[in-house]
């Protein structure tokens, strides 16, 4: 321990280590709780929104105290059930998945078969660590690890997620999972390129690779895609360059969003799972809790992705008119929480967009997917970097 502290000495003041430790722990636990609840309700939202889009009602039965209260207060619960009934569904789903028979086929490669589901969800959760999900509370930054290579870290970790899929497909020792895994690998690798390249312009503008700095920049100068909205008051940037720069940012935004869809295996890019061709894709042989982990991993990846987009382009926790919290006072404390709330409201809005897209678009053909990734997005993202550089260099 001492050796480690010795080593860390130049970086961290030893006196602050206990404080650092417990705040980090608290933040991690808090964030994990929020995210896991969000995951289960994203699943619920997925089912509910899809049914509403398809003129159905969706899961509206599973009792939840909320809907029972309605009954108590003399409101017939049926009036509420279309809205509140079914809020217990995620709990029921979880219990069901937990109680299902834990089945491991005899022909699989046991070790890899077992670790694969964990890898997927693990990667998605860990990459949340660098996302600034709030301003400050009592002077503590609302980001678990404020590191200088934020986006790189996110890309590095979240691409580990593909190992989960590849291992699952390979260790299942069965053709459909294997095909799913192969598809998934090539898809993820292809789109990671455009994903990475598309955010470069942002950091060229900000000049740093730190996500917290990126957020402060947005607070100062307006959201990336809506530069007019700043902390102070709405004001229009005066220079031509600041107008022109919106173009590459918009391109970045579109490319990034679409690549994010592909990275999270969401429709229209859900080829690794493609039930119609691949039975279930890489998780065909999985059941019960292990399947649940894959399932939740996917939704966690969705949340991670949305958080990332919100952080990069939509001003993170900032909302015009709501000042930054963090001052060691009651108001500051409250504001800090409000900031966190704003962040998650934005994330949720983006999740809903994810869901709406899923129930709108059909799946791409595999060749279309590849063509899109390699011929269009990759090139566009690349050119976009030069465009940004040109604007930054030559237009004041």
């Amino acid at each position: 321990m001492n050796a480690i502290l010795q080593f860390l000495h130049p970086l961290i003041d030893p006196a602050s280590i206990p404080f650092l430790l417990w705040t980090t722990l608290a933040k991690s636990i808090g964030l994990l709780c929020i995210v896991l609840v969000m995951v289960s309700y994203t699943v619920y939202a997925e089912r509910r929104v899809s049914s509403l889009i398809q003129d159905r009602l969706g899961p509206n039965r599973t009792g939840f105290p909320l809907s029972l209260f309605g009954n108590l207060f003399g409101i017939k619960w049926r009036d509420w059930s279309p809205i509140l009934g079914g809020l217990g569904q995620p709990i029921a789903d979880a219990v069901k998945l937990l109680l299902k028979e834990e089945f491991t086929p005899a022909f699989v490669k046991k070790f890899y078969f077992w670790i694969a589901p964990g890898l997927g969800i693990g990667a998605a959760i860990v990459s949340l660590a660098v996302i600034p999900f709030g301003s400050k509370i009592w002077g503590v930054d609302m980001v678990i690890a404020n590191i200088d290579i934020g986006p790189l870290f996110v890309f590095a970790i979240s691409s580990l997620g593909v190992y989960g899929i590849v291992l699952a497909g390979w260790s299942s020792n069965s053709k459909y999972p294997f095909l799913g895994a192969v598809r998934s690998t090539s898809q993820l690798i292809s789109y990671e390129l455009s994903l990475g390249l598309s955010v470069v312009p942002l950091f060229m503008i900000v000049g740093k690779l730190n996500l917290v700095d990126l957020v402060s920049y947005q607070v100062q100068n307006g959201w990336m895609i809506l530069p007019g909205i700043t902390a102070a008051k709405p004001h229009l940037p005066g220079t031509l360059g600041s107008y022109l720069i919106i173009v590459p940012i918009l391109i970045s935004f579109i490319v990034f969003t679409i690549a994010m869809f592909a990275e999270t295996n969401r429709l229209p890019f859900d080829l690794p799972e493609g039930e119609t061709e691949l039975v279930g894709g890489y998780h065909t042989e999985y059941s019960s809790l292990k399947f649940a982990l894959f399932f939740l991993g996917e939704y966690t990846a969705m949340i991670t992705g949305s958080s990332f987009i919100v952080t990069l382009f939509l001003g993170a926790w900032h909302f015009p008119g709501i000042p930054e919290g963090g001052a060691p006072s009651l108001a500051g404390l409250l504001l800090g929480f409000v900031n966190i709330g704003v962040f998650f409201v934005k994330v949720i809005a983006f999740l809903l967009f994810f869901i709406a897209i899923r129930w709108t678009l059909p799946r791409f053909r595999y060749d279309q997917l590849m063509k899109l990734g390699w011929i269009y997005f990759f090139e566009i993202a690349l050119v976009n970097i030069f465009l940004t550089a040109l604007i930054l260099a030559f237009v004041p």
Binding site: L52, I53, Q54, D55, R56, L57, R78, A356, W359, T360
Partner: protein
């Protein structure tokens, strides 16, 4: 031999997909919005709303055994339904009515009559084939049980569900 599939020629707008994505979103979100305003007519909410009163006469619910107005189990265990039943849900053990009995003329009755409602597919063939008008698919449709055995309807259960049916052919009448 490789086939050359001719792909449609897309316009630029179609090629970049985005307009169609927006058009699609307009449709789906339109539905969502209509639904949220309660403008969409949704299906019946089952346990609260039932269509029992609208069940047509010919509705095919669970098969049941009926008695006639004299209280005789109409079935004579001819086992034709057992034979016709596609999923083999019916099992009958015939028995003999003693000669001195009130219904002695009928000679034969089902000593055991089981329908496995987990197998029954409600096809109604048993009713159609029955030469004695003894088995009817009536209007019971909500059959649930917490154990498989509860859905093995035995003779008593079937007769209880079936009740008495009048106005049928009475061929075992003494005069016939």
């Amino acid at each position: 031999m490789a086939y050359k599939v001719s792909r449609p020629n897309l316009t630029f707008a179609e090629k970049i997909y985005l307009p169609s994505v927006l058009a699609g979103l307009r449709i789906t979100l339109g539905h969502l919005w209509r639904m949220l305003r309660g403008k969409t007519h949704v299906v019946m909410q089952y346990p609260e709303e039932k269509w029992d009163s609208h069940l047509p006469e010919y509705y095919r619910g669970a098969p049941t055994l009926v008695r006639d107005e004299h209280g005789r189990t109409r079935c004579v265990s001819c086992q034709l339904c057992e034979f016709i039943c596609p999923p083999r849900a019916i099992r009958i053990k015939p028995g003999e009515i003693p000669a001195g009995d009130k219904f002695g003329k009928v000679e034969k009755y089902p000593a055991e009559f089981d329908i496995d409602m987990l197998r029954c597919i409600y096809c109604g063939l048993c009713q159609e084939v029955c030469p004695e008008q003894a088995i009817f698919l009536q209007k019971q449709y909500a059959l649930t049980g917490t154990a498989r055995t509860q859905l093995m309807h035995n003779k008593e259960k079937l007769l209880e569900m079936g009740g008495i049916k009048t106005g049928l052919v009475n061929k075992w009448n003494e005069k016939k």
